[in-house]
């Protein structure tokens, strides 16, 4: 589904990614771990197409298509979804208006009929129930005045409505207490339709006990220093990133 080959990228002229290789197949969950500043979020942003993140070398294909030839909105229409570490507050723009605009763009590009406000209201209500969000929240301005937990839950709601095939979750566990974490993780699991793949970007092991990854990759200084299974994450939790770094150097 996603093939990342020798990816280099810089932000403000500073090289952050220094040759990332990653292959994600259908129905797979990959965890990308790493210390602060290792390039985890940069990788997520580069894949989603955030302006200011410049790819200097390498390639990424999504279902065989050159991802970098597509603007951010086209990537989303093809089924790529980024859950933001810090979801943006947009005063004056109502959640349901915003999400209907996105939903209809996806339908349009899939050649499907668009939903009018009434039908979409039914959809968003049913999805809000799935992610255990108060339907009244969807009438509020996007993320405005939401708590950290509400913002993350809102990302899950958007995922529930847009039904992406590749989900990149950038530190979806940050700022969540253990109960909120469990609920968000459950939402993510319940929303996994067959064929859905997930890239979990995280600093800590704790969310991985809810979302069992098939593969764990450790990103150190812009490169994947080590890959393995679930056991690798546990080992990092016990021994820290220094251990991997030492191993990578050896």
């Amino acid at each position: 589904m996603l093939e990342v080959r020798g990816l280099y990228a810089e932000v403000n002229g500073v090289e952050i990614l220094k040759g990332v290789d990653l292959s994600v197949g259908a129905d797979e969950t990959h965890a990308i771990m790493g210390p602060n500043g290792s390039g985890k979020s940069t990788l997520a942003y580069v894949l989603a197409g955030r302006p200011g993140y410049e790819v200097t070398a390498g390639s990424v294909t999504f279902d065989g298509e050159d991802l970098f030839a597509l603007p951010a909105e086209e990537r989303a229409r093809r089924g790529l979804f980024l859950s933001f570490q810090h979801p943006v507050e947009i005063p004056g723009v109502r959640m349901d208006h915003f999400l209907r605009a996105g939903y209809n763009e996806l339908r349009k590009s899939a050649g499907e009929e668009q939903l009018d406000p009434l039908k979409f209201d039914r959809l968003i209500r049913s999805k809000a129930k799935v992610v255990e969000m108060e339907p009244a929240m969807t009438k509020r301005a996007v993320n405005e005045g939401f708590s950290g937990g509400e913002k993350k839950r809102n990302e899950v709601l958007q995922m529930a409505v847009l039904e992406p095939r590749l989900r990149i979750l950038d530190e979806i566990d940050s700022g969540l207490d253990v109960d909120a974490l469990r609920e968000v993780a459950r939402g993510i699991t319940d929303l996994s339709a067959p064929g859905t793949s997930t890239i979990l970007v995280t600093h800590y092991d704790r969310i991985l006990s809810y979302l069992e990854p098939d593969y764990v990759h450790v990103l150190i200084d812009g490169r994947i220093a080590r890959s393995g299974g679930r056991a690798l994450a546990k080992e990092i939790e016990e021994r820290g990133y220094d251990w991997v770094e030492a191993g990578a150097g050896a």
Partner: protein
């Protein structure tokens, strides 16, 4: 003044012709008021951006001073072709007055007010509906409020434009909400320019809201068909104790038109005015909105939205006079400036020495969508009392890049995303319009202007 000598001469000829034509009747006092106003104009001329004339620093009215405008003749034909459909409010009942090129149009207005309706003894009764009628009728039937307030709140001697408006005062709209009356339907004053070139109109409005009355008044200025004309509007508003008045102004003049508008309000104890002004048209727009909070408990909410496109110049000047203790004011003005447009906002707040416990807040935010667009914004706070809460803030920026990316990452294309953000930016102002039908009407006009839907 000498630089505009010829122009003033042409106004002078016009004034004398206007007088010779009997100015369509009117009592002697009104003739005196007009004459005095015209001599004010001769003395003042048009405002200039000269040193020491701070309020006109950014707005050069020379294009107006150097043009010669003629009063529009009454032409039945012009009105006959007016299709009001596009201007209709989305509600079943409305008190509507329509003026075409400055002339009252009975065929398009919903309520010709009866003579009885204008008699003062009738007006004094509680619980009657509003009086929405021609100012000319109110003058003719000697409605005491007219003598009392006309030209008092906005003296002709204020500047050249208010002087001209009063000098050519003949008709306009008169709105009176009797004491204790709640008017559920919007009162709609519609001023249409047919687009005849170099025509001038001086729309005049007097609104008197009695004690504990409540009403919504929408003033709307539209152009049928382009044209370089001048609208020189003047509105006076007075509220009784405890009155609640919601005022909205929608300005969609031609892109070549000049629009000068002066609104002066005076508020009694515990009265509340919520004003929303929306400027979407015009080549040169100058809008002054001022209120006198003359007694304790009075409050005013001033909101504004201006959209600059092409070479539009749009200047909003607000002034809140806190002349009594315990009054409050809140201002939110927002501008979206594109093309090589120029926005100006100046927010004056005066807190007089005895006006303790004043609560005054002011915000002006601007979005610059093009590198050629510019804005000048300045708060002008004069505070002479010590126990007050006053805040002000101004911001000038572009569309939030992070928000734009957030929207795109959900599949929303550039144009729709920008449009959503612009609508989000202006929603705070539009949400301040309390009447649902008026809000919907104005929202549609704004959507039509910003493009797309919101």
């Amino acid at each position: 003044m000498t630089q505009h000598a010829t122009a003033i001469e042409s106004w002078s000829e016009q004034f004398h012709r206007f007088e010779r034509n009997g100015a369509e009747t009117g009592p002697a006092w009104l003739r005196d008021v007009r004459r005095s106003a015209f001599s004010d104009f001769e003395r003042l001329g048009f405002p200039t951006a000269r040193k020491g004339n701070e309020p006109w620093k950014y707005t050069n009215v020379r294009p107006i001073a150097e043009s010669s405008f003629a009063l529009a003749e009454y032409a039945q034909a012009a009105s006959a072709g007016v299709d009001l459909h596009a201007y209709e409010l989305p509600c079943p009942r409305v008190h509507q007055l329509v003026f075409v090129d400055g002339h009252y149009e009975p065929g398009l207005s919903t309520e010709p007010v009866s003579e009885a309706g204008l008699h003062s003894d009738v007006l004094a009764r509680r619980g009657d509906g509003p009086v929405v009628g021609r100012l000319a009728d109110a003058i003719e039937y000697r409605v005491p409020l007219v003598r009392e307030h006309l030209g008092r709140l906005a003296p002709a001697s204020g500047n050249g434009f208010t002087a001209l408006n009063t000098a050519f005062l003949r008709d306009g709209a008169f709105v009176q909400i009797p004491e204790g009356t709640f008017v559920p339907e919007p009162i709609y004053l519609l001023f249409i320019s047919t687009g005849a070139r170099t025509v001038v109109t001086h729309p005049r409005v007097l609104i008197a809201a009695g004690a504990d009355s409540s009403a919504t008044v929408l003033q709307s200025f539209h152009s049928l068909d382009g044209g370089t004309y001048l609208t020189n509007a003047l509105t006076e508003v007075v509220t009784g104790p405890g009155a609640s008045l919601r005022l909205c102004t929608l300005q969609r003049e031609s892109n070549d038109a000049f629009h000068i508008a002066t609104t002066r309000m005076e508020q009694a104890r515990d009265s509340r005015i919520a004003s929303v002004v929306v400027d979407l048209g015009g080549r040169l727009v100058r809008r002054e909105t001022a209120t006198l909070l003359g007694a304790s408990g009075a409050s005013v909410n001033l909101c504004g939205l201006y959209h600059g496109a092409g070479e539009r110049h749009v200047d909003n000047q607000t002034f809140v006079d806190h002349a009594a203790p315990g009054a409050s004011s809140n201002e939110i003005y927002k501008g979206i400036l594109d093309g090589s447009s120029h926005g100006v906002f100046s927010g004056g707040v005066l807190v007089r020495p005895d006006s303790q416990h004043t609560d005054a807040h002011q915000v002006n935010k601007n979005l610059l969508l093009s590198s050629d667009a510019e804005v000048d914004t300045q708060p002008k706070l004069e505070i002479y009392a010590d126990d007050v809460t006053c805040t002000h803030g101004a911001a000038v920026g572009q569309l939030d890049a992070d928000a734009l990316f957030y929207l795109k990452s959900r599949g929303i294309g550039e144009d729709v995303a920008r449009n959503l953000l612009m609508h989000g930016f202006v929603s705070e102002v539009l949400d301040a319009i309390e009447d649902g039908a008026v809000r919907q009407h104005v929202e549609e006009a704004v959507s039509g202007c910003l493009g797309g839907s919101g």
